[in-house]
């Protein structure tokens, strides 16, 4: 697909549920940044997710990596002297599903079906981020989900990432801030924490 060719492919879905999907990155440590907008496809439906967590672990759950650098001069040397490490470790990114595109219509709510395993995961380009962030409805999903990472951190990271797609980053962040101020009406301390993390 021509469209997909232009987009940066970052990995492949290895675990999926209605609310999230996990992608294994093709290259170790080459994960999409925290809060970035990624997408995958389930037949006709494109699913959008926001990366909320990335882990790098051993390929086999029972085998923990061991410290190897005692006699090495630098960290890079470790990987150079044990090239197999790149194959024994893997990076995985988890993304929270925040919307989908069905029949050329963008929806900021959960899709009818989860993502497919082995679906390619792409990092959305600026134009798509812009289009997706025309509406701040996805913030509701971020606020209302319990995640291993702090909500405030995730929301702030996501808005910081999205703002990079805009020429007037400040205006975008103010608009997003206002939306948050409404959603977090009774939670001023949380709002304050997020605002402190997104102000430039």
């Amino acid at each position: 697909m021509e469209e997909s060719m232009q987009m940066q492919r970052v990995g492949e879905v290895i675990e999926a549920s209605t609310t999230e999907f996990v992608a294994q990155c093709y290259e170790l440590y080459q994960s999409p940044p925290l809060g970035s907008l990624v997408k995958t496809r389930d037949l006709l439906v494109e699913l959008y997710g926001i990366v909320y967590n990335t882990t790098t672990t051993s390929l086999e759950p029972g085998r923990r990596p061991i410290a190897r650098g005692k006699d090495e001069a630098s960290e890079e040397e470790i990987y150079r002297s044990s090239p197999q490490l790149l194959e024994l470790l893997r990076s995985e990114s988890s993304a929270l599903v925040v919307g989908h595109n069905q029949g050329d219509k963008l929806h900021h709510y959960l899709p009818p079906k989860p993502a497919r395993i082995h679906g390619f995961v792409y990092l959305c380009p600026s134009e798509e981020v812009k289009e997706f962030s025309q509406s701040f409805n996805f913030l509701t999903i971020l606020i209302n989900t319990h995640l291993p990472v702090s909500q405030d951190e995730l929301i702030a990271a996501c808005l910081r990432q999205m703002s990079q797609a805009y020429e007037d980053r400040y205006a975008f962040l103010v608009a997003a801030g206002k939306e948050l101020a409404v959603l977090l009406g009774g939670e001023f301390n949380q709002l304050k924490a997020i605002l402190e993390r997104i102000r430039q």
């Binding site: 400040y170 962040l173 103010v174 801030g177 206002k178 948050l180 101020a181 409404v182 009406g185 009774g186 939670e187 001023f188 301390n189 709002l191 304050k192 605002l195 402190e196 102000r199 430039q200």
Partner: protein
Amino acid sequence: MTQENSQRLGIVVSGSLNKGVEVRLDSSASVEDMAVGRYVTIEGQKQRFFGMITDVSLGVIDQKLTLTPPDVSDSFTTEVLAGTSTYGMLHVSPYLTIAGDVTSLIEGPQPVKTVPSHFSTANLASDQDIELVFGKEDKERFWIGNPLDMETKVCLNLQEFVKRSNGIFGKSGTGKTFLTRILLIGLLQKSQAVNLIFDMHNEYGWAGTREGGAPVKALKQLFPSNVAVFTLDEENSRRRGVSTDFVVRIGYDEIEPEDIVLLRQTLNLTELAVEAVHQLFRKFGKNWLQSTLALKDTEELPEGLNIHESTLNNLQRGLATIRRLPFIETHAPTNTVGSILNHLDRGINVVLEFGRYRDITSYILVANMLTRRIYAQYQERVEKAMGENTIKPRPLVITIEEAHKFLNPQVANQTIFGTIAREMRKYNVTLLVIDQRPSGIDDEVMSQIGTKITCLLDNERDIDSVLAGTSDKGELKSVLAKLASKQQALIFGHAVPMPMVIRTREYGSPESYRDFISRGEAEINKQAEKDIEELWE
């Protein structure tokens, strides 16, 4: 229905017909740009409402914000919070519906009977809205000023205005005199009424004073053919370079017991002394005043008069004050009342200057005496006109200053001014009262005043007295108390569809004079053209 050029303020979030509606400001509208007294339109689903901002307040979504305020030095946080977590609220009193139903389309703005629905948009009123409500300057309407922060002309329907007695109130130095002068020019140009002005401080006839500036032109200089200046103090008028038309002299024989009743407080007379005046008048007839002053003691009292010595002394002391007034003579050489009426009949407005005799005794005596006689004449003529089905005399507007001296609760029942204020326009005579202490005016009279124009007042009792009887006293009170100390006024009552706050029109520059005069002439020319057209029809 939305007007292109109106500025959106926010949305209606709550309210009631009695108390007005609350408008939550959008984040784009700064609370600091709002002002009480500004006009607002609210786009309801079926009707458009027209109202006035009567209060501005601040709100927060979460009380924690007030306890742990955010860092205000950070513009980002402040900007995000503005209009969301922190917001401005406007209290708007809707007064009229200006479009929407059939009646208001045909008959113009109607009084409100409901409130706009939830989340209706509120906009600042546009020029067209204001023109729709207050009308354009035309044959009957006179441009009196502009709304706050706007250039639209706000007009007053003077034909309606003169149908009732009216009042101009305000603290000293708030521009009552300038406002009165503008209004008198309006009356002179736009209404059929003639004015009789008791000009205590010589402000309306030839030239008026201005704080920290050159004198301003007054009526006679601007409209020489329509205004006659009468004076009590010829010498003073001549010194001020005023061309007077008539010198007023009052004869002893013209003073009647009723005139003394009004002066009771000023002359410090006892109740009994006032009673004695009536007795003396019955006995001595027209020359009672001279005869009373000539009495040496009670021994000389004619038969049948029972007046105590102390009462007589008290009365004589009081009457001596009157005798000392320089414009009082044994017999007046001219008939002042006749001359005033003669001028009024010809449509010429009369300004009576008091010159140096600005003491309250002279003012009350002269104003009361002349008004009583003129009113009697008017009453007679109107009754005659009604009986014979002929044309009634021209409506007369009598302007009095320091009105609380004539209309205070003690004397309001007895003076002619009280009668005129109460009987209103039955005999085609109405009052224009100018006062700085409206609380001193009798409640009954105050309630009969049709249109009230008030500049800044800050005494609680004065404010209460002016606003007595209005349905939205609380709201208007906050508007009234926040008027600027100069050139701003609140107008409400009979002649205006809703209370309005205005910045008074400019007066005193050459352009302003030209504006006043040219409008008058244009009006006359238009009328002449119309008359000619009608002649050939």
